[in-house]
Symmetry: C2
Subunit: 324 residues, 2 copies
């Protein structure tokens, strides 16, 4: 029996993903599943790319945020206001506490959406404590970026779409590569495919040196990253897995993968050229794993989530410069 | 009565678009209809963007080419081989005769797809004559880039999709802005929306100084461009409207629009930032018209086709450099 104050109580199921799809219907973009022969050639197998960079606000984060806020309306809590913390993508969808070293584009855009932005230092400050302080002072609802059943279920809707889309093309078992920070996206997707495509398995992709999720899966318990910053894959630097997300992952995920910043930049460039997608470094991590970790992947085909495309022009120009 | 050798015989109808959709079903990408509040703000109205840059081969041209080639199979002509001329997007979908000043990315990619590429000089040579010569020598089927009922109907499938997609959001009459070279895309779309959304109207968008279609509509007869080159909107430099496309346009199109190269570059940059789309200069022309010709457009909302995204990295970097 799970005690009522356990951080792993209220784990979502695929029923919550199905409910989230109803809330998101006609609101979120049904993002396309793309592929390109030039990408397949480099990867050595067919690569299916779910383009969540085309989602409203430029990342999958809109799905969880909308699901969470719509649920607040249903329970009558919407009038209290909302507090959230995020490295940028979740913030643009809901809004607030952001690391001071987030890309300018994410901070500016979050303010453009009308949010009050509170910056903190990744190395010395605790964003969860700042969130609780603001929540206590304002009475607002704290919306966590990933460790929440509504957020996880909302992100999972991308996996439900992918499972339907890929069924038109593939019948074989497939690795499904999903970038991982706190694990909301990957764990939500694992709920959907467990029901819809049970022979597929989710595998986490993280920045090299920040693979807390992969190491936690091996260890069977929460393991933290040693560093808090130092990768351009800024969306993927969460210090440790979430409690709910890790509880879901333990019985569902395959072995995790990690990619370097150089590989992420190269994947951004190749996605620009062959898929005409704009990806941020963290958003290209799963594609980078498909392209550059081919020996660690099984099957004739692989699916990846291209999770976001909020990036500074200078960083993007850096990626383009890797092209011949 | 139209004489049997008339260039305007065999005009396609929406029934041909419907047949093309069946041929393209499960093959072409159903490209998403996107919008972003930041784009709406600049344009002064809601802007719906049909992202054909995400189509296979990076432009809408795949639709017409696939429809044409599938029809060849149906008539038993597929074994004869295929000859085509194109500034690059059509060529990547079918293959051959290209202007020597086409972007490197288009020439290289066309060869990557396995095509034999024949280059010609836009200013001094006639690509149609070169095509006929190769056709006579090889017995291959000449596939024109736009003035063909199967090509027009294939391109029109993007309009059929848009009409369905936009019905979820908009009930008002709308201008639908479509870039125009030979007019295959715009005239095909006009067939689809005439049936599905009769209060919408197609309006051509061309590079400033190359607005042969707009001027032909005003004149009521074919008018040619004075120049053959000199715009970075390389996909839109066809010297004059097609016969079939113009015949369809005369009773269906609203007044044409034109945009400068600087406006196209700026639209590329804004599409990159707010829609996370990779557009080439000509592919951004219709969006540029929505953004920078607001007084010439009617209604609270406008739809545009973002037609292609095959562009050299250096040109793309030039567009990004226009961002603050």
């Amino acid at each position: 029996v799970i005690p009522p104050d356990s951080p792993i109580k209220d784990l979502p199921t695929n029923l919550d993903v199905i409910a989230a799809r109803k809330r998101l219907s006609g609101v979120a973009i049904v993002t396309p599943l793309l592929n390109a022969p030039q990408i397949d050639e480099i990867a050595g197998r067919r690569v299916w790319v779910k383009a969540e960079s085309l989602q409203r606000t430029g990342s999958f984060k809109f799905r969880g945020a909308w699901n969470r806020l719509t649920a607040l309306k249903e329970t009558g809590d919407a009038g209290r206001g909302v507090v959230a913390f995020s490295s940028g993508n979740h913030a643009q969808a809901v809004v607030i506490i952001m690391p001071a070293d987030a890309p300018d584009a994410k901070i500016t855009t979050t303010r453009d959406y009308g949010a009050k932005v509170v910056l903190y230092d990744r190395a010395t400050e605790d964003r969860e404590a700042i969130g609780r302080k603001i929540q206590n002072e304002s009475g607002a609802v704290l919306v966590p970026p990933f460790d929440d059943p509504f957020i996880i279920a909302g992100q999972g809707t991308s996996g439900a779409e992918l499972a339907e889309q890929i069924a038109a093309y593939e019948s074989d078992p497939l690795d499904l590569l999903v970038c991982c920070a706190g694990g909301g996206l990957a764990s939500g997707i694992s709920l959907a495919i467990e029901d819809q495509r049970p022979r597929m398995r989710v595998r986490s992709v993280e920045p090299a040196g920040f693979d807390d999720f992969a190491r936690s899966l091996v260890a069977g318990e929460h393991v933290s990253n040693e560093q808090q910053s130092g990768s351009i894959q800024d969306a993927l630097l969460t210090p440790r897995p979430g409690f709910k997300t890790f509880a879901l992952a333990q019985s569902r995920f395959g072995p995790g993968l990690a990619v370097t910043d150089e590989e992420a930049l190269r994947a951004m460039a190749l996605a620009w050229r062959w898929l005409r997608l704009v990806l941020e470094p963290g958003g290209a991590a799963a594609l980078a794993a498909a392209l550059f970790r081919r020996d660690a992947i099984e099957g004739d085909a692989v699916a990846v989530i291209a999770s976001g495309g909020n990036v500074d022009p200078a960083r993007f120009a850096e990626a383009l410069a890797t092209l011949d």
